[in-house]
Amino acid sequence: MSEAILTPIEKKPIGFTAGVLAAAGAFAGLFIGTAQGSGLLGIVVGAALMAALAFVAMQVLGEALEKPVRWGLIALGAVGGFLFGGAPGLVLGALFGWFFGWFIYWVGMGRYRAHLVPYLTPGQVLWHYTFRVICGAIFVFLITPILVVMPLSFNAEDFFTFTPEMLRFDPEGYSLKHYRDFLTNPEWTSAVKNSLLVAPVATLISVSLGTLAAIGLSQSHVPGKRAIMAILISPMIVPLIISATGMYFFYSKIGLVGTYWGIVLAHAVLGIPFVIITVTATLVGFDRSLTRAAANMGANPVTTFFKVQMPLILPGVISGGLFAFITSFDEVVVVLFIGSAELQTLPWQMFTGLREQISPTILAAATILVAISICLLTAVEILRRRSEKLRGMSPG
């Protein structure tokens, strides 16, 4: 399906356009209808309205008036929605208007074939777009829960759902009080502080040990490489509940339960697989003759490591470190088992908050965490590209 093939676009017969639009209108009408009380009426009205609109737009007004017609539909939808359902209806109605304005011309002018190869049968075209709609739905499934949390965190009430004020876009319905609570309540601030005390130290341990080991593992002729690798990756594979159970038993024997260092060590070992995996992946493309050249010119192994090898594998090391950091920052099971009341981390606080459902402050915390993870995701993506550029691969 290359872009070079141009499929001629032509105006479709009005019967086709009106039919498709009527079906779409019936579908939309079903929802609006049930919301207003009568599903059947909604279907009939929706189908008739859309077929009529399609006829008017295609046959009476024609292609030349496309822009005004589409704006008109948006306005119409907005007004209609406002009459039916107030402020939220206005937004929804405008969206409906925008969609159907686009949809009428997309179907009516045959634009939907523009990017497809000319020999596809109508059935294949239909499947092509059905498939995309399915995929779109899956993407919505993936992303909606995260998006829903964000507006809810600005809720003025202590509810976990949208209040009528919020749906009316009433400024009264929104407030920053959960954020204020998050930033001032000692329970949350000390949890954040604990998390920030644990995560960097754990990351430092796993990155420094993990990078060394990854360099060792990437050399040829390592005896028992597979077994060593299996052991080093195992913290990621073994279920957290089992790791936590074992650590609880063992750490209580050596007096580490409930201590800062107990949590740091546990988090460090949980982060190690991520460092190993990312750094080993970076080392795959590493040119060994560079270190030999450095040695040849009189650099000792330490200088070679810091001046030649390290700068080249640094992106991998940093992204491994970010993974290790987020593992520690997000880890709750082990903390629940080997932590103590004074060492409550942010995930612990969120977990108990969720279990007891005390206040939506948790949603504010969640929103902040999403923002942090977006930053981290961007950082890792940039690093990955940089690393591939450094190693002469084409960045994907």
Binding site: V222, V238, I241, F250, S373, L377
Partner: protein
């Protein structure tokens, strides 16, 4: 023309040429390196150095992981079979029960009751009897309260003798006379001189006393050492436990102290005469136990003690597969007590459902991503990676917000009029909630491996199949799908491994019907405190996961795990 010194043939010593020539001369000898050593040895030395260097780099991490991770896991495995508590707390009873046939449904011999009297008494003084009771309560309900009661009640047996000895002579209830009777004179002097600082001089039995009064000596030594080490009190000032009086009665009833001439001889001989007299009141150990609780004269408790007396037990494992140890050997529990089989089944079933829904949802997305132009695919990839990078708790709380009865989905459905306001759907705290939330959480782990496999499938294969006349479906099913199977396999095993051990999400959205085996493990660790059972359940789960891990390693290779696309 040539300078003799640089003439190759004239140089003596190790040069490559000379080495080659030497090798040629030797004809069938080994190939030599520049310094004259055989090339093979030189190479292997270089290799060994390289290996050592690599191992030195790996060693710190390996040791770190072994200590902080593998050792705890090994400790957990050990705990799942460890059962020293019965043997440590009731050593005499366990020994006396050696020839007791647990299947006989009879009461054990009187010696067992005697041994149990001493064991439980000492355990109660050390406050260990409740721990043992808790342990045995896992196997036999009621054992915990039985032991707690007995810890208090066993004094009654000793008091029978103590009172009579005391009536005879006040000194029998005094600390000093007992110490003089039992203790070494040197020790008494040292203990008297002890000023309260530093460690007390350790109690020593007087020589010869243990032949005359064997039980009393043992019992008094245990008392004296306990006072010295645990309580920090001087045995010279503490009157002995009632168990010592019981031991004295037993010794006097059996042995003869007429020839005894040491300190307090008259006191001891008077007691001996009292014991020999017909109106001396005695109580058998069995009756004493019966008075405390009827359960002691039922065979069940003795069977349980006998069954769990070995230092290592398969009992926890049997428990975790709904079986129990009985005198006749392992047997299934009653129908209504079986919970773990069901829980394992449910964990397996729900993990499979989650894996399949991930395949179902992940396959189209991975297909779309790998067939779109790079730029668009990267943009859409963000939608996959953002959930992957978002905190697990954020996603779980999001699902809690979405699914609950006053939640977003129910609100939307009510607003659309699809469900009535009083008929809101129950989508949380059940299996449905767990499956939906975990499918969402684990979906990126399915999409990413699938995507990396699918983007290596050359599009020309599909085109070739189509140009040869295959229909769309045939092309997909016979050409594309078989090549994408490795991706499905990798993703499925990963998702299955992750889901089978999940704890947080089922705990929050699972209610009671949607929980996994992990939640039960956590319950045993933190609430019921049956750590052995938790360890056994964990071990079974670990074995399942390691088998899958091994399979994953064989199919995909652990070093091929990719993170973040």
């Amino acid at each position: 023309m040539t300078d003799a010194a640089t003439e190759p043939d004239k140089i003596a010593g190790p040069t490559p040429d000379n080495a080659v020539r030497a090798a040629d001369k030797a004809d069938s000898g080994p190939v030599l390196a520049a310094d004259g050593t055989p090339l093979k040895r030189s190479l292997s030395r270089a290799l060994r150095a390289q290996k050592m260097r690599a191992l030195m780099l790996i060693a710190p991490l390996l040791i770190f992981v072994l200590v902080t991770f593998i050792a705890p896991i090994a400790d957990m495995l050990f705990r799942s079979v460890e059962n020293q508590i019965v043997r440590d707390t009731l050593p005499r009873t366990v020994e006396a029960l050696v020839d007791y046939d647990a299947a006989s449904a009879e009461l054990p011999r009187d010696e067992v009751f005697e041994a149990a009297y001493y064991d439980v008494f000492y355990a109660a003084e050390r406050k260990l009897h409740t721990r043992l009771g808790t342990r045995l309560n896992y196997e036999q309900t009621g054992a915990s309260s039985l032991f707690r009661k007995s810890g208090r009640g066993l004094d009654d047996i000793g008091e029978v003798y103590q009172d009579q000895f005391e009536d005879l002579d006040e000194n029998w209830d005094e600390a000093r006379p007992w110490a003089e009777l039992m203790g070494d004179p040197d020790w008494i002097a040292a203990q008297d001189a002890w000023d309260g600082n530093g460690t007390m001089p350790a109690f020593e039995l007087r020589s010869g006393i243990s032949e005359i009064l064997p039980r009393t000596s043992e019992s008094y030594s245990i008392f004296a050492r306990f006072m010295q080490t645990e309580e920090g009190d001087s045995p010279l000032e503490e009157e002995p436990w009632t168990v010592v009086h019981t031991a004295l009665y037993q010794d006097l009833a059996e042995g003869d102290v007429a020839g005894y001439t040491g300190p307090r001889a008259d006191m001891l001989q008077a007691a001996d005469a009292l014991v020999a007299s017909p109106d001396f009141e005695t109580i058998s150990f069995r009756d004493g136990f019966e008075e405390i609780d009827e359960d002691w004269v039922q065979p069940e408790i003795w069977q349980t003690i006998k069954t769990y007396s070995p230092a290592y037990t398969s009992g926890y494992f049997l428990n975790s597969i709904d079986m129990q140890k009985t005198p006749e050997g392992p047997a299934l529990r009653d129908e209504d007590e079986r919970i773990y089989g069901l829980l394992f089944q449910r964990t397996m079933f729900m993990s499979l459902v989650i894996t399949f829904s991930c395949i179902l949802l992940g396959y189209p997305v991975a297909y779309l991503l790998s067939n779109l132009p790079m730029r668009t695919a990267n943009l859409l990839m963000i939608l996959v990676l953002l959930p992957f990078w978002t905190s697990l708790l954020v996603r779980t709380s999001a699902w809690k917000v979405m699914l609950q009865q006053q939640g977003v989905i129910n609100d939307v459905l009510v607003w659309l009029g699809m469900v009535a306001d009083d008929g809101r759907l129950v989508m949380i705290n059940n299996q449905f909630g767990t499956i939906v939330a975990m499918t969402h959480i684990l979906l990126p782990f399915m999409i990413l491996p699938m995507y990396s496999v699918m983007s290596t499938i050359p599009p020309s294969y599909v085109r070739a199949a189509k140009s040869l006349g295959a229909t769309n479906w045939t092309t997909f099913w016979r050409v594309y799908f078989p090549q994408s199977v490795p991706g499905i396999g990798a993703g499925s095993i990963l998702v299955f491994i992750l889901s089978i051990g999940y704890y947080i999400t089922p705990e929050i959205v699972g209610g009671t019907s949607g929980i996994f085996i992990s939640n039960r493990i956590a319950y045993h660790i933190s609430s019921s405190l049956n750590w052995g059972l938790a360890a056994a359940l964990g071990t079974i789960l670990l074995v399942v996961v390691l088998l899958l891990y091994w399979a994953y390693d064989r199919i995909v290779g652990i070093d091929n795990v990719k993170l973040g696309g």
